[in-house]
């Protein structure tokens, strides 16, 4: 029994980082922008949050965890949003190719994260010496009473605030996309920008906002990994393939934020499954790590076979819009 509880806890811990990335990317893709810079924006958010907390704690005698928390949160949001902004300027204003811009952003973000990660380590006095104990403790703070309920508390309430923010983001996004006027406009922009334009919707504005906010949400994924998952430290290339898993989760969730919630749990579980299978060597582990991608491919095949319009990506995904082009 305890083994199952730990497994669920670990699966959720793996899943939340991916869920942030997927939420950000769903919002972005709903505007028709295929931003493959998710891993990059995660690194940017992660390193910015870490740097903010580190600098704060270094400069203060008795750092206040709440202040560190807020600073790191804002830094991660801004850094992720900046990543989205760079992508937006390139693809919306300058009409650069979306795939190339996104991949470039990933390369850039990962490099940026590792570079400043190295710098921070140097400041801290060596690799692995970065410590933002106060801030990390705030991120790992759990709900006092609920946490103590046996089993239920372990499975549902043993996580920090960011975990619940991730799920809240999914719920709010789902409501926004399906129940509000603006959400309808955003979907129209991603499906058919020419039609949205003719209906008097500011296509560029929607694309910019969705992509920048999407980037900020991805940045939170990085922050979650650095603070809650790793406990406020940095390892170069430590994120592994979580960024790409987030992109895969978008497809798996068929562009629906609520699907992404349970999808992230599944992905998280599949991602750590190899630890629970006895007798795996270093090489055979990798086959199990492949599982999330395999499920994604299966989902892709199934949705292609069913040909249901609602399960397809936004129609103009990956194309830029220019009114006078015909």
């Amino acid at each position: 029994m305890p083994a199952i509880i730990t497994f669920l806890q670990n699966a959720i811990r793996q899943g939340i980082c991916i869920l942030f990335g997927a939420n950000g990317e769903i919002l972005t893709e709903k505007s028709g922008n295929l931003n493959l810079g998710v891993p990059g924006m995660m690194y940017m958010g992660g390193i910015a949050g870490l740097a903010a907390a580190f600098m704060y704690e270094r400069g203060t005698q008795t750092p206040n965890p709440s202040v560190g928390f807020l600073l790191a949160l804002i830094a991660a949001l801004v850094a992720g949003g900046l990543g989205g902004l760079v992508y937006s300027v390139l693809t919306i204003s300058l009409r650069a190719n979306q795939n190339v811009s996104g991949l470039a952003l990933t390369t850039f973000g990962v490099g940026l994260g590792n570079f400043f990660g190295g710098s921070l380590s140097k400041l801290a006095g060596g690799v692995g010496q970065i410590s933002t104990a106060a801030t990390a403790s705030a991120f790992r703070l759990t709900l006092p009473v609920l946490r103590d309920i046996p089993v239920v508390g372990d499975v549902l309430f043993s996580y920090g605030l960011l975990t619940y923010i991730a799920i809240a983001v999914s719920v709010v996004m789902s409501w926004y996309l399906n129940r509000t006027r603006q959400g309808l406009c955003l979907r129209a922009v991603g499906e058919n920008p020419a039609t949205a334009d003719a209906a008097g919707i500011n296509v560029s504005l929607y694309k910019y906002l969705a992509t920048v906010i999407g980037g900020a949400i991805c940045g939170l994924g990085g922050l979650y990994f650095v603070m809650e998952y790793s406990g406020g430290t940095w390892t170069n290339n430590g994120f592994g393939d979580r960024g790409w898993l987030a992109v895969a989760l978008v497809i798996f969730a068929r562009w629906r934020p609520l699907n992404a919630v349970w999808g992230s749990l599944l992905f998280g579980a599949l991602y750590i499954l190899y630890l629970y299978i006895p007798g795996l060597g270093r090489s055979t582990q990798e086959i199990f790590k492949m599982l999330p991608y395999v499920v994604t491919i299966i989902v892709l095949i199934l949705t292609s076979l069913r040909k249901k319009k609602e399960d397809q990506p936004p129609e103009s995904l990956g194309q830029h819009y220019f009114r006078e082009e015909r």
Binding site: R179, T180, R181, Q182, G183, L184, C185, R187, A188, E191, N192, A194, T195, A196, D197, A198, A199, G200, I201, K309, E310, Q312, E315
Partner: protein, 510 residues
């Protein structure tokens, strides 16, 4: 109340580069009136209406709405003025429902109450006699249902000036009748309606007044009650323009290609070619006339093996050889027989040439199969490219310049030149002079004449009736996918062909 002008245009002009699409046009429409704007393809009807709805901005002239001068820079400016345009290509989002599409972009409370929207839509539908399901997704709808959504969308936004661009082009006769009934209801409710069309019978059946455009110029307006098919056709096609195109007599015409009862259906289930039959002779130019989308493309492509045929057959009579049935052959096999298609689409580069590649590579697209096992032969296509540049006087820095960088006329010469170079026995060209200046056009005409004198059966789809009458030996007229007749180009008149194109006349069958 005095009948006021809902819209008045004064001296409106619009140019695209050197082409004048609208030349000082004056036009007005009153509230409670249906105005038909009639004209051939390329006469500037749609351009003019796009300026009222904010898609284009006029180079010159003034627009008055209800007597006040307005500036319409984008569709967003047109909505508050009560102007709504229904385009030929519907502006609807497929995965959304009718109600969602109708309410799209409107301001209001953050939370969208779709049930309230649907109720209002149903009320509008009841008022004007529409049949619409607000919760149906667009992709599940027929063309006429989509059109209904478009019209309701405009009414929902409070439009009182409605512009419809060729609304009946995609409708069945029953759907057309239903649309007309709705339009009359809207007129009676005091709305101003402009309908762009080239179908004379519909103009006569529906409109109160007709304005005619020809080649970007305003010809005049008449009360529909005073108009007849003949008078409108004359206004539409104008008097004959004499073009000095050389037309040698056909040499020894022989049956080369026979199409028997061919029907084509597009993926959406629309019949694009309806039991078409004709014979093409070697040594003559057969012109193909018709308003855009009457089946010209399908006619050529079904011969070339590019469009699947529902029924019917095509026979090929090669010179000095046995007759053969080419109905079921693949495009490659047909091309190998010497039946060549040179289609110049609206965007010129879309079909046939790759803009980013140079001339040599574009020649290779046709000849790559002739290369060795693995290595492509670049020398022969390069020689061919140089030969075409020389003979057709193509202006280009060299064979290695990307084709997309050449001017339109030169691109077309490359396209036609490549097909001619393969020594075809049947040469099909569509819109070979589209967008070309006079000199380039004449070069293309003489190229076609050279092929004709070689005994090639030339099929030429054209837009300009004057050119077809001056260049071709016979003209086949299409209307709505049907062959409405084949006439002798030396004796036929523009009015005669114009009537056949609009299905209200009879042509001499040959």
């Amino acid at each position: 109340m005095k009948a006021e002008n809902a819209i008045e245009l004064r001296n409106i002009s619009k140019r695209f580069g050197k082409v004048v699409a609208n030349d000082h046009i004056n036009l007005s429409v009153r509230s409670g009136e249906i105005l038909a704007i009639l004209g051939e393809n390329g006469s500037g009807k749609t351009t003019l209406m796009n300026m009222i709805s904010g898609i284009y901005y006029p180079d010159e002239g003034q627009i008055f709405v209800h007597g006040e001068e307005v500036t319409i820079r984008s569709p967003k400016d047109a909505f508050p003025l009560g102007i709504g345009m229904i385009h030929q290509h519907f502006k609807l989002v497929d995965v959304l429902t009718a109600a969602e599409n109708i309410v799209l972009g409107l301001s209001g409370p953050t939370r969208l109450d779709i049930t309230a929207v649907a109720t209002r839509i149903s009320k509008l539908a009841a008022k004007y006699g529409f049949d619409i399901d607000p919760f149906k997704k667009i992709y599940e709808m027929s063309v006429s249902e989509k059109q209904t959504v478009e019209i309701v969308k405009m009414l929902y936004r409070g439009a009182n000036i409605l512009i419809l661009d060729e609304p009946t082009a995609v409708l069945t006769p029953q759907e057309t009748d239903a649309l007309f009934a709705v339009l009359r209801n809207m007129r009676d409710a005091g709305k101003a309606i402009i309908i762009i069309t080239h179908k004379l019978n519909e103009v006569l059946a529906l409109s109160d007044r007709v304005a005619v455009l020809r080649r970007g110029k305003y010809v005049g307006a008449v009360q529909t009650a005073d108009a007849t098919v003949e008078s409108l056709t004359e206004m539409m096609v104008g008097s004959k323009v004499t073009l000095d195109i050389d037309r040698p007599d056909p040499v020894d015409p022989q049956v080369r290609l026979v199409m028997k009862d061919v029907t084509c259906v597009d993926p959406e289930g629309v019949i694009t070619l309806n039991h078409a039959s004709f014979t093409a002779y070697g040594g003559e130019i057969l012109g193909i006339a018709g308003v855009a989308g009457s089946g010209q493309k399908e006619l050529l492509e079904s011969i070339a093996g590019l469009t699947p045929k529902e029924s019917g057959e095509i026979e090929y009579y090669p010179p000095n050889s046995e007759t053969m049935d080419i109905t079921g052959l693949s495009a490659v096999e047909i091309s190998r027989l010497g039946i060549k298609l040179s289609f110049v689409p609206e965007d010129r580069l879309g079909m046939g040439l790759v803009g980013a590649m140079d001339m040599t590579d574009n020649m290779m697209i046709r000849s790559y199969r002739k290369g060795g096992f693995f290595w492509a032969d670049r020398r022969a296509p390069k020689t061919l490219a140089e030969h075409i540049i020389g003979t057709l006087e193509i202006v280009t820095p060299g064979v290695s310049t990307p084709v997309g960088k050449l001017s339109g006329g030169n691109v077309q010469k490359v396209l036609v030149g490549r097909e001619i170079a393969s020594a075809p026995t049947v040469l099909m060209v569509a819109y070979p002079v589209r967008g070309l200046d006079i000199n380039s056009a004449y070069t293309i005409y003489s190229l076609l004449n050279v092929q004709k004198m070689r005994g090639v059966a030339v099929l030429c789809v054209g837009e300009d009736l004057d050119v077809l009458l001056a260049l071709c030996d016979r003209i086949l007229v299409l209307c709505g996918g049907r062959v409405t007749g084949v006439v002798d180009a030396r004796t036929a008149t523009k009015e005669q062909i114009g009537l056949m194109m609009t299905q209200s006349g009879k042509g001499g069958e040959r």
